[in-house]
């Protein structure tokens, strides 16, 4: 790894430590992700091969963090894999936090929310068109270039080869705030709609500058959702009461979603409503979201 100069640890990703580093030859900043994959006498494990080649295939989109290369190094005789990604200076969580706290609290400009959401939908549509679900979309996984107003999806697709992210590398509980109700209720067949739920939560969070459903357990998470959107019924969501983890919940009436995002106009509320549909089959797709009237005022030629 002499090719790179490690500058600082920028995070504990779900799958391992992430370092900001500089390519000594070109001066390019990169994010180095050490994986815990070890190669044996059979060479690279098949699952890792499939996952990394999938990641490589997806990273040809502008809205996905680019995998620049994969480095294989020998550490104490054991080969280790490092994934080298392009480096972006911040993530959406830090970006939203900086607008809530700090010396100059202020809302995110509506045009920036619109642009970020559009880029997010572009990236999600790209993953979905390649048959890949992200499964863990959250503001920390969305990297932002503040100067250029660019947003890119990170931490993609490694869920299977790099172990299931129930607990992260540092044993920090993986956040539930963006998790779709069907996942929380133990559905075994989930689809692209799980990502669109997360996109809805992230959209609302950009407007509110705080999380829409900040639950601290799976049960609490469901209650947060039900209190705002009403307890789902069989009529609304056929099959809900047969899901594995369904229990009898208090029957809340749906609240007005617009009151949770007061700064958002009617088109935005309509799009958010479509993203937060209970029945996954009714939830808007990323591709359809791109054509929603909320984006009519956006200059799409730049994307």
């Amino acid at each position: 790894m002499e090719k790179y100069e490690k500058l600082e640890k920028v995070g504990e990703g779900t799958y391992g430590k992430v370092y900001k580093a500089k390519d000594k030859a070109t001066g390019q900043l990169v994010a180095l992700k050490k994986t815990r994959l070890e190669m044996d006498e059979e060479g690279i494990p098949p699952t890792a091969l499939r996952e990394i080649s999938l990641l490589q295939m997806l990273s040809n989109s502008l809205y996905i963090v680019r995998l620049l290369c994969v480095e294989q190094i020998d550490k104490n005789g054991k080969p280790l894999l490092y994934l080298v990604f392009e480096y972006l200076d911040t993530d959406l969580k830090k970006f939203v936090d900086s607008h809530r706290k700090g010396p100059n609290p202020r809302p995110l400009p509506p045009s920036l929310i619109q642009s970020f959401l559009y880029q997010l939908c572009k990236g999600v549509a790209h993953c979905h068109s390649h048959g890949v679900l992200h499964r863990d979309l959250k503001p920390q996984n969305l990297l932002v270039d503040k100067e250029k107003g660019i947003l890119k999806i990170a931490d993609l697709g490694l869920g299977r080869a790099f172990t299931v992210p129930i607990k992260s590398y540092t044993h920090e509980i993986v956040t539930l705030w963006y998790r779709a109700p069907e996942v929380l209720l133990g559905s075994t067949h989930y689809s692209t709609a799980v990502d669109m739920w997360s996109v809805g939560c992230i959209f609302a969070e950009m407007v509110r500058r705080q999380a829409l459903f900040p639950g601290d357990s799976e049960f609490q998470q469901l209650l947060h959702i039900f209190r705002l959107l009403g307890t789902p019924t069989e009529k609304q969501w056929p099959g809900v009461s047969s899901l594995r983890d369904w229990h009898v919940y208090p029957k809340w009436e749906p609240q007005n979603l617009a009151s949770a995002v007061p700064a958002l106009g009617p088109d935005g509320v309509d799009l958010l409503t479509k993203m937060l549909q209970y029945d996954p089959a009714d939830r808007i797709s990323a591709k359809a979201a791109l054509d929603h009237p909320y984006f009519d005022s956006l200059d799409k030629s730049q994307f």
Partner: protein, 306 residues
């Protein structure tokens, strides 16, 4: 999650409508670029020998033809990117074994490396094959989900209005057989996978349901993603290939510097086998010097047995 050549993009085994445009958009990323080479380039011979060795191993080990096809795709792309100036039997062998190993891992085929080495007639030391795999991976930039003509079969067949659904499978089988053969036809290098898929399917249709050929041709020519001129040219080449029965041989005119016999007939001399050999020296030079890394430099310390 295993890689399916007919469905390279989706991990879930479904054909998404959106996936079609994604396929066409990225098919050119997986093309070998032999056309730029001089006809005397030693890589043509390496390729020919590799294909011959794969075909021989395939009949001995009975592995999936799709896996073999994928391995050849890796070999083609590897040889397109690496400057190889030496033609030695062991280079062909390690390239074939490592490519087969990668293709087996991608397609979830249980391939025994020791069986393959036995069939290929050479046993490399434990580190050599993983290192060759690494070299191939780096050269291919880990883009192992190759988009091949098989990726377009489903889409191209959907353009045909097949009245009788019992014809679907025979048509697809015959088209697949033709696609397997096209790997041997150097004249088809310049065509994109989608064009080869469409041509193979049209040839299969012409054999199985000649009366419907013209309506199929009209339907495929009308497709927005395919250029009619290219399609007609490729179709002519595939037809010629089928007529001449050149389904399993390679044009060998470019290999005049080498003995005409197959690599499998080559006898390794003892001195050649025992001599430590470097792959990082003159035999394989990397095109991109940036990729050069000391700790990754590929080296075969010794070849144990020929």
């Amino acid at each position: 999650m295993e890689f399916d050549l007919e469905n390279p993009l989706t991990g879930c085994g479904e054909h998404h409508f959106d996936a079609v445009s994604a396929l066409f958009a990225s098919e050119s990323d997986h093309l070998p670029s032999f056309l730029a080479f001089k006809s005397t380039d030693v890589r043509f011979c390496l390729r020919r020998h590799s294909l011959s060795l794969i075909s021989q191993t395939q009949s001995a080990c009975k592995f999936d033809p799709y896996m073999a096809y994928l391995a050849v795709n890796y070999i083609d792309r590897f040889l397109s990117e690496q400057v190889v100036t030496e033609n030695r039997p062991w280079i062909v062998r390690i390239l074939v074994i490592a490519s087969l190993s990668l293709a087996a891992k991608m397609t979830n085929f249980n391939l025994s490396l020791s069986d393959i080495q036995r069939d290929v007639g050479i046993i490399f030391d434990a580190q050599s094959i993983p290192r060759m795999e690494s070299l191939i991976l780096t050269t291919l930039e880990w883009r192992l989900r190759s988009i091949t003509p098989f990726s377009f079969l489903h889409f191209c067949m959907s353009l045909f209005q097949l009245g009788d659904s019992s014809l679907t499978q025979p048509l697809k089988r015959r088209a697949s057989d033709i696609i397997f053969s096209t790997q041997y036809e150097i004249k088809l290098f310049e065509y994109k996978p989608s064009i080869i898929a469409a041509s193979a399917l049209l040839c299969a249709a012409d054999e199985l349901m000649p009366l419907q050929f013209s309506s199929f041709l009209a339907a495929i020519s009308a497709c927005q993603y395919l250029t009619k001129e290219e399609l007609m040219n490729a179709l002519a080449v595939v037809r010629e290939m089928l007529i001449e029965g050149r389904e399993s041989t390679v044009d060998s005119e470019s290999c005049s510097t080498l003995p005409p016999k197959s690599i499998l007939d080559c006898e390794c001399t003892t001195s050649e086998c025992e001599k430590p050999t470097n792959l990082d020296g003159d035999s394989i030079k990397r095109r991109k010097l940036n990729d050069f890394r000391d700790d990754q430099t590929f080296r075969i310390s010794h070849i144990q047995r020929c």
